[in-house]
Amino acid sequence: MGVYRRLEAQLKPVDYKSDIEPTWCAGCGDFTVISSLTKVFSELRIPPESIVQVSGIGCSSRAPLFMRTYATHTLHGRAIPFAIGVKLANPELTVICNVGDGDLFSIGAGHNPHAARRNIDITVICMDNQVYGLTKNQVSPTSREGLYGSLTPYGNIDRPINPVAQMLSFGATFVAQTFSGNPKHMTEVFKEAISHRGFAFVNVLSPCPTFNKVDTFKYYREKVKDVNSELPFLEYPLVKEKNINEEGHDPSDFKTALELALHDLDHYYNPNAPVPIGVFYRKEEETYEDRVSRVKERYKAVKEPTLELLQSFINACKPEAI
């Protein structure tokens, strides 16, 4: 995570709220996402001016507007490329993408693999309500089979994608899942994600009470189990086989992380299956920005070129020079 400086005195979470009032429905899962985020900013003492939050389009993508940090509400699916541009232009900024499941995994699906594999130091927070909210109830790539939407009155006939497994396989160096019905858990996960140096992905199970009547707060509250700490999770036999130690899953273990992730959607087909939340994977690795610095060193890059340097680029094209 890049920051200009830590704040001396801590700002209160409310100091990170903007004067733009949220337009979300009452009871929307996304409310707690912004209160957790502002809490994390406050606790990590990040100055609001060094945070840039970038979103796509969707209900969830309105989130940055409601916070008092630099914010860009871009186009449907395009938050990640925009965020990369911000980060590369100024690596000292803390760059966060706040996006929806449709935004990230449908229209924007071409972008996240590349940000992940290059380990660009941004944090992507996906508010996964398993539905398209803003366009008023269509199925999304994470919708369960059978879900009704305005374009699928016969029920969804597509299988959902697995966000956690996908991001792990793309090479994200931090992958977690959390639940907006558990603000404490969410705050902890966000804190780790934002503090992580490198590409961090957090899938937030964030119910849409208006359109998704199946994947509700109540549904998840009974099913979520923390892979890192909650022992009951180990009772789930498929995971037990993997010999997770008694303290829970160790996020440095990629293979088990993937194994756990592969069971993420079991609950769609098995009413007894838990929904794993927590930090699946975390690895400190050279970031894209680190590699950029190395190349720049090799090229003897200067921050502000002098007129002489610029003139030398031109003079290299003189006939006697070529």
Binding site: I20, T74, L88, A89, N90, V295, K300, L309, I314
Partner: protein
């Protein structure tokens, strides 16, 4: 008549035709001559017909002329393509191990077994082009040391042996001429002149150099012919100057990234061609709505769809002007030669920064590959504009702050331009959004806000028209009342210049306007130009006459269009013929003409 020589080399793609032309170009520039070089090759990596035309003169020439004086054919295909243009007095050098040409009256023939020499003497087929260069050097007294310098510069990376091998190939060509041929033609490379302070650049290279000089710090690339080489050329300079090139996953991402970088406060650019520009369209209107400065280079190729990737067309003007949903301010610049590729790229950044909006630079496939020598730009004389960045100390009354929030989209400035806040500054925290917004960026659908914000954005263009447009119109109006006024843009303007000169020397009264700012349009200036001309002619290399249509929409003009869409630039003779046709037919006052109307069957062959 001064010195004016056109050498054309043709052969199979991948045989070194293009680099042979480049070596000749460099030799001419080193000898102090004006030089223009046009290249064309197929999109495939190997095979197909490739050619390079080098025009060497003692005065500045803007086009490669109508034909050639010396033709060097590496294979039969090159001969077949060009035989109909072999006129009396031309030289034909050909690979006699491949074919024998027909009789051509008055043409000087030099058979040279190029392939055989490469295979049997040099034992390296790839040296064929350098052997041919040796032949050209010896026949026309081109200083071989100059070619050697170029060979050295080009091949040194591959090692001394490769340099030595190419030197030997050059000697092989020279010796072959000495031992086997007798010079019969009159062409002699002229004695070197006082060397001039020039640079030699390719069109895309000039764009790259211009961008770095303008202060570009971020370049997002997604490869596409013929725009890719802008990235190839920019990358090392950009890094040394503290910037970065990012190879994106597609063009949507590349423009998005460039805009992200722009939001973070740096000057950013991306270059693409038609199909990529289509993908970028959604972000173009976003840039307009959010008022982010950005430079988008479109190196036009033949469309629609993937069209002809390596070929010339002026087909994307509509897309640049009308592309994107909704309406937003933008400017479209188009260079007419390589030197302008450099200076207009700087201008594109300056306009983008000053007006905080997307600015297009419309280049094209043949401009991208054209090499020209032009006076060395002096960096200290180049004016570079940076965007208006908010500083709290310049705003003692806090006009740009309301309720502790920065008003990125304040309405009260006269010209619609408001300061930007750069992330990192605690005094200018704000959001941007593609939704219509009020002064503090809060998304709003209210009619009053929409109206006022729309007017704010569009007011920027009024200022641009007043302060900046005129210098991008090059008027050449020697006649108070001319018979014809010609209006052109892009490479066609360079070609037209030569046609106009020739016609004027024969007494034709023609005024000319070379437009380099294609959008927005200064209707008053164009209309007053038109009043000095009986009729207006607009030649373009596209089907419908895109500039002509825009002029019809923006002014009272009713131009006579001339449209050629064969994938090659026009040549001066064609523009000349079109203008002559108009002079001979004074009753023609409006309408659309194609090559078929002027040249009949000839049109399908092209003239170069």
């Amino acid at each position: 008549m001064g010195f004016d020589l056109v050498i054309k080399v043709g052969g199979e793609g991948g045989e070194g035709v293009i680099s042979a032309g480049d070596f000749l170009t460099e030799a001419a520039a080193r000898a102090g001559y004006e030089v223009v070089n046009f290249k064309s090759f197929p999109a495939e990596i190997k095979g197909g017909y490739a050619q390079s035309i080098v025009r060497i003169s003692d005065i500045k020439r803007y086009s490669t002329g109508d034909g050639f004086d010396i033709l060097c054919c590496f294979n039969r295909e090159a001969y077949e393509f060009n035989r109909k243009h072999l006129k009396e007095g031309c030289v034909l050098i050909y690979d006699s191990s491949d074919f024998e040409p027909e009789e051509h009256e008055g043409v000087y023939l030099y058979p040279v077994p190029l392939s055989e020499l490469a295979r049997d003497v040099m034992k390296a087929y790839i040296t064929k082009n350098v052997i041919a260069l040796g032949v050209l050097c010896e026949l026309f007294k081109i200083p071989d040391q100059s070619i050697k310098d170029s060979i050295r510069a080009k091949f040194l990376r591959k090692g001394e042996e490769i340099v030595a091998m190419n030197y030997r190939a050059l000697e092989t060509g020279i010796n072959y001429v000495r031992e086997n041929l007798k010079k019969t033609d009159p062409y002699i490379f002229p004695p070197p002149l006082e060397p001039k302070d020039v640079v030699i650049m390719e069109g895309n290279q000039a764009v790259a150099k211009g961008a770095v000089v303008a202060g570009c710090k971020f370049y997002a690339a997604y490869p596409i012919t013929p725009a890719t080489t802008v990235g190839n050329y920019i990358v090392e300079d950009l890094i040394k100057a503290g910037g970065w090139l990012y190879q994106a996953e597609d063009e949507i991402a590349s423009l998005g990234m460039a805009l992200g970088a722009s939001f973070a406060g740096v000057k950013a650019m991306t270059a693409t061609s038609g199909p990529g520009l289509c993908l970028m369209t959604e972000f173009l209107s976003y840039a307009g709505m959010t008022e982010l400065p950005i430079v988008v280079v479109d190196v036009q190729r033949v469309g629609p769809a993937t069209g002809m990737p390596t070929k010339h067309e002026q087909g994307d003007l509509y897309h640049a002007v009308y592309g994107g949903h909704g309406e937003y301010p933008k400017a479209v610049l188009a260079p007419t030669n390589v030197e302008e590729c450099f200076y207009l790229t700087v201008e594109a950044f300056n306009l983008a920064e000053k007006y905080q909006m997307p600015v297009f630079l419309l280049s094209d496939a043949s401009l991208s590959l054209r090499t020209e020598a032009f006076p060395t730009p002096k960096v200290e004389n180049i004016k570079v504009i940076n965007r208006w960045v908010y500083r709290r100390e310049d705003d003692p009354e806090g006009r740009f702050i309301r309720n502790d929030r920065f008003l990125r989209y304040a309405l009260f400035t006269e010209d619609g331009i408001t300061p930007v806040g750069i992330p990192g500054d605690p005094n200018a925290i704000h959001a941007i959004t593609g939704l219509e917004h009020q002064e503090n960026s809060d998304p709003r659908n209210r009619p009053d806000i929409r109206t006022l914000q729309m007017e704010k954005r569009m007011r920027k263009l009024e200022k641009l028209l007043k302060e900046d447009a005129e210098r991008f119109y090059e008027f050449d109006c020697p006649y108070e009342q001319a018979d014809i006024g010609i209006i052109t843009w892009g490479l066609t303007a360079s070609v037209a210049k030569e046609a106009v000169e020739r016609l004027r020397s024969r007494g034709a009264r023609i005024n000319a306007l070379y437009m380099k700012l294609l959008w927005p349009v200064r209707a008053d200036l164009i209309e007053s130009f038109a009043r000095s001309c009986g009729r207006i002619a607009v030649p373009e290399t596209n089907w419908s006459g895109q500039l002509a249509s825009i002029l019809k929409q923006e002014t009272h003009l009713r131009p006579i269009t001339f449209n050629i869409y064969r994938g090659e630039p026009l040549i001066p003779k064609e523009v000349e013929a079109f203008l002559e046709f108009l002079i001979e037919n004074p009753e023609v006052r409006e309408g659309r003409f194609t090559a078929a109307d002027i040249f009949g069957e000839e049109r399908v062959y092209g003239l170069i």
